[in-house]
């Protein structure tokens, strides 16, 4: 799968726009060395041979592709709503498949055990039935009507509440989650996970948030999200096999895993197999 297959023609985050320098930063995309720099005031990305790669500057991050993307990068309309604070959380390197990182982001059943007393707590472990679909018009995976009890749902939440979520997979290594926003009932906080596939088993994760939170310090918001992600990393680096199995193989999903099942099915349907394994192992 080292060629990247259909995933070569997709967009990937490769850095934060505000951290760009003229000198540039060397990084990797799907096993190939690339350089991300500021050239004449605009972001530029070049591959190992100096060839210029396509560039999009969106959501505070620079996006590129090794192939020829047919579609524009997805949008997150909520980001443009007035009153939201946009937070570039920074980077977290994880020794895992980029697809495993996304799958973990789609998962709520782990909250009481991995994010104990923050995003979940025993005995509130039940995952109620929710809805999952692959929306053909936009070609995205959506999970809706997801509910889970959280002792401290966000930086701005005090005490436990039942939080509503929606999940959206809009690119093979990108997902957006919408969750109840305690200070602004009726609105959703937006938290996105942008994953840069360095190799099939190594990735840089760039979380990004658009929140209605007027009170919290920016550094507190960032630290909260980073703490959550460090907890996820301890799981992600210890899953076997390292590659995400697209066929159930030896894994046993339950009803709580419906989003994961749909994500894997969607990946398989598109031939998005970089970081995946097709044969059960």
């Amino acid at each position: 799968m080292s060629e990247g297959g259909a995933m070569r023609d997709q967009w990937y985050p490769v850095g934060m726009t505000k951290q760009l320098t003229a000198q540039g930063r060397d990084t990797m995309l799907m096993g190939e060395p690339i350089r991300v720099a500021l050239a004449g005031g605009a972001p530029s990305v070049t591959d190992g041979t100096g060839r210029a790669l396509p560039v999009i500057d969106r959501f505070g991050h620079v996006w590129t592709s090794l192939g020829q993307p047919e579609k524009d990068l997805f949008t997150i309309p909520e980001v443009d709503q007035p009153g939201r604070r946009l937070v570039d959380v920074g980077v977290c390197r994880v020794r895992c498949s980029p697809l495993r990182a996304v799958e973990n982001f789609l998962d709520i059943a782990h909250f009481p055990f991995v994010h104990t007393d923050i995003l979940g707590s025993e005995p509130h472990t039940e995952v109620a039935r929710y809805e999952v679909e692959i929306r053909d018009d936009v070609d995205e995976v959506w999970a809706t009507k997801v509910k889970f009890f959280q002792p401290q749902a966000a930086k701005s939440a005090e005490g436990g509440i039942t939080t509503d979520y929606m999940y959206r997979v809009c690119a093979p290594t990108c997902s957006v989650l919408y969750k109840t926003c305690p200070p602004k009932p009726g609105e959703w906080d937006v938290i996105a996970l942008f994953v840069q596939p360095l190799t099939e088993t190594l990735c840089d994760v760039w979380p990004y948030m658009a929140l209605y939170d007027d009170d919290a310090e920016m550094t507190d918001l960032i630290h909260f999200q980073q703490m959550i992600f460090v907890q996820d990393r301890s799981v992600l680096e210890n899953q076997l096999p390292a590659l995400l199995p697209l066929d159930p193989g030896r894994e046993i999903p339950t009803r709580a895993d419906m989003t994961s099942i749909a994500y894997r099915r969607w990946l398989k349907r598109h031939g998005f197999t970089y970081g995946a394994q097709l044969v059960a192992a």
Partner: protein, 231 residues
């Protein structure tokens, strides 16, 4: 590289003398010292190609299971023990007797199907050592009167090279090290490495144990240096 310390014998120079380096055959593989897996804890281990989760229940029962949760592949050695169950740290699935899944927290009302079961290995404790095997061996693992579990080390050298340095072959070597009559148990590890589980004379005073530690660490350095040269 020069000689390290005052080794009692040069392990590479000659065949073992008859009164040391005795080899005891066994179908069990030493995997850890009992003291290293306290009550209500889990730790990773190895048996040939298999990763193990070795854990001890609240009542003290030892178990060695495949180190992979059947749900989504998380290592069970990172899990937590409550009572007589090992639970996976990812989604909290709980496993009891025989590796059977008994609890899926996301679906508290559900009785997990019998098919959800972690592969289980044979395990036994003797002389403060945890022994494992793929198929249940005919007899129990060997007992060693007069010695007690002392410490485990990992050596970056082939098990055969380590055994030879101790003047023996195989898994169990009774020999003299740092002036003490010891039992050295050798565990093959992946990546051309070996585990060395050392049993020291019962009632050894701290000075004698310090000397033994220094001796075995020197031996490890010698074996690793020799391995590097041949690599």
């Amino acid at each position: 590289m020069g000689m390290m310390g005052a080794a009692c014998s040069d392990p590479c120079a000659s065949a073992p003398t008859p009164d040391t380096g005795d080899t005891v055959p066994t179908d069990w593989t030493p995997a850890a010292l009992s003291d290293d897996i306290p009550v209500a804890s889990a730790a990773p281990g190895q048996l040939g190609p298999h990763d193990l989760a070795i854990w001890r229940s609240a009542s003290g029962r030892i178990a060695a299971w495949a180190d992979r949760c059947p749900h989504r592949g998380m290592r069970l050695s990172h899990g937590f023990v409550r009572g007589e169950r090992l639970s996976c740290i990812y989604h909290g699935w709980g496993y009891g007797e025989g590796g059977q899944c008994v609890r899926i927290p996301a679906h508290p009302e559900l009785t997990p199907p019998e098919a959800i079961r972690v592969p289980v290995f044979s395990v036994a404790e003797a002389s403060g050592v945890i022994w494992v095997a793929e198929e249940a061996p005919d007899g129990p693992p060997p007992e060693f009167p007069g010695v007690v579990a002392f410490r485990s080390l990992q050596v970056s050298a082939a098990p055969e090279a380590l055994a030879a340095a101790l003047g023996g072959t195989g898994t169990v070597i009774e020999t003299v090290l740092g002036g003490a009559q010891v039992v050295a148990l050798i565990q093959p590890l992946r990546g051309g490495a070996a585990g060395l589980h050392l049993l020291a004379p019962e009632g050894s005073d701290p000075a004698a144990l310090d000397a033994l530690s220094a001796e075995v660490e020197a031996l490890r350095r010698r074996v690793e240096a020799a391995e590097e040269m041949t690599a």
